[in-house]
Amino acid sequence: MPTHPTSTMTLGKALNEGLRKAMENDPKVLIMGEDVGRLGGVFRVTDGLQKDFGEDRVIDTPLAESGIIGTAIGLAIRGFRPVCEIQFDGFVFPAFDQIVSQVARLHYRSAGNVKVPITIRIPYGGGIGAVEHHSESPEAYFAHAAGLKVVTCSNAVDAYSMIQQAIACDDPVIFFEPKRRYWDKAEVDTTASADPLWSANVVREGITATLITYGPSVRTCVEAAAAAEVDGHDLEVIDLRALSPIDWDAVFASVGKTEHAIVVSEAPVFASLAGEIAARISEKCFYSLEAPVLRVGGYSTPYPTSRIEEDFLPDLDRILDAVDRSLAY
């Protein structure tokens, strides 16, 4: 625990503190995954937790993701609250079946008799110069699966509270962590009361157009908004935080005001969550939109090699280009 309620910490450290708090508050909370114990995770998000809570509560598992999620289900049925770490986004797929066919459905299948309060932490997104399978943005797969809830944090303050809220939630929550923002710092007040887990956050108010985004792209969008100011554009930036369900009220309110919406995320755009956002805004804000909802995201290719990943990822220029295109309608 930090000695002072407020301290500067990285997003990764905020998650670590949030996990620690959750474990202190509820003895049923377990952490499990590959290398989460002695090593503290490849990103050190679980650093020190095994030392302090023991091997029974911070479990280095065999190397098999389906096994991690499958056994977490059994532990949940037994009354535990497992927090599973998937080491990298690209390694969640061996567990996909257990997640979409079991985790997501046991509460429904059992007519509410079985709760599955599992949190699945997934470091995701690109921009860290990694090899294949280490830079994926698979959120759409989970958002489309009924029975799951999906959230993602973009900064240390949210990270600290959201991880605790996700763990406390009686529903299964897929918790996406923007890995290239792990080292971003912020002042975190561990005594502050947190926003509701399912609320979007207007991180920048503006009137020209709305950038709707989440996770690692939030910072990019805020930077783009700052740059746009030079051109006299006053952009609003919404950090969705919750990806399923989405806080539509916040989105519609903003688009109703700005009449221009651009969705920004790293995943390939085709059949993505950005598609849902664009489709729903197009439907619900039909009369207020001055331009079609534009999407800036990854291309419809596998995540490329790191030397050209910046061309794949939405950056300031591509976002501003979309703003210009939107305003030109």
Binding site: A64, G70, I77, R78, Q102, G112, N113, V114, P245
Partner: protein, 380 residues
Amino acid sequence: MPAQASNATDAGPDVLPPIQPSEGPDFVQLLTPEGERVEHPDYSLDITDDEIRDLYRDLVLVRRIDSEATALQRQGELGLWANLLGQEAAQVGAGRSLTDADFAFPTYREHGVAYCKGVDPVTLLGLFRGTSQGGWDPQEHGFGLYTIVIGSQTLHATGYAMGIQRDGGQGAAMAFFGDGASSQGDVNEAFVWASVFNAPVVFFCQNNQWAISEPLERQTRIPLYQRARGFGFPGVRVDGNDVLAVLAVTREALARAREGSGPMLIEAYTYRMGAHTTSDDPTRYRLAAELETWKLKDPIERVKAYLSRSGAGDADFFASVDQAADDLAAHVRAGCLALPDPDPLSLFDNVYAEGSPLLDEEREQMASYLASFADTEAVH
């Protein structure tokens, strides 16, 4: 002490023997198909005739649940039924070995275990009638929900067992699965986990010789119980049509697990006498002669023979069991027909424990949409 795997494969696959038949010392049997009690060096069962009568009753009732459900399906009252005919002893033996402290994780065919765990068969039927996806409370019965995706539940059982280790509970978990399931990655991962964590879980594989149309040889070249050797825990093959042997072996395995000696794999060697489900047509892929052979090993007949021969069961007893079966069948039928169709709006119930605005919105949409019809009808 569990019987240990033999070394049948030690000469390497080039001289691999065919899959072992269900005989020899590696095969635990306590009651022959002819109804004779026999001894096994590793497993014994202290059991009274009263208890054997109870088991007989269980077997007959479970078979009757199955046949009534099959009939209901034929009459269009169920969309599907997964037949258990022939597997009564495997399921009753395992089911009766489970105490209240234990927890069973079934496939879609464990109607006999459900019965032993006190789940009303009518509740099971809801799933096959399409009125529910499993209406019982797993915690109340120590009996998990039916799991259709092959193999998934073996990991759940293992995790549950790890939970027992962590909260100091007394019981053990039992994972049910089939011969076909043994090929799934999940099942083998469950073996890894159970072994590494020394988890109190018993893997109970009903080898009914078929995975729909595929014979055992499509899943393995060696007897299935030997799979456990590769993971460092014992495996044993039991006559799955011998309720006494199954009871003895599962009790022992559960006791071992509970006392901290880790997992065990039990292969209950049995036969699916019926179709895979009521949608299946086994005449397309297997010979009638096979069924005839297995009829001679019927799990109920041998207990009846034992009881008759030993005098422990007389005509009155058998008649009373048949009467109980008729009563149960009537209950199943009436209960099935009375199962209410779900309210369309129940679609949205329990998707989440804590709700979701999206679901609320959709529920409302449907409600007003449905109401619009009611209005229309009211007008006409």
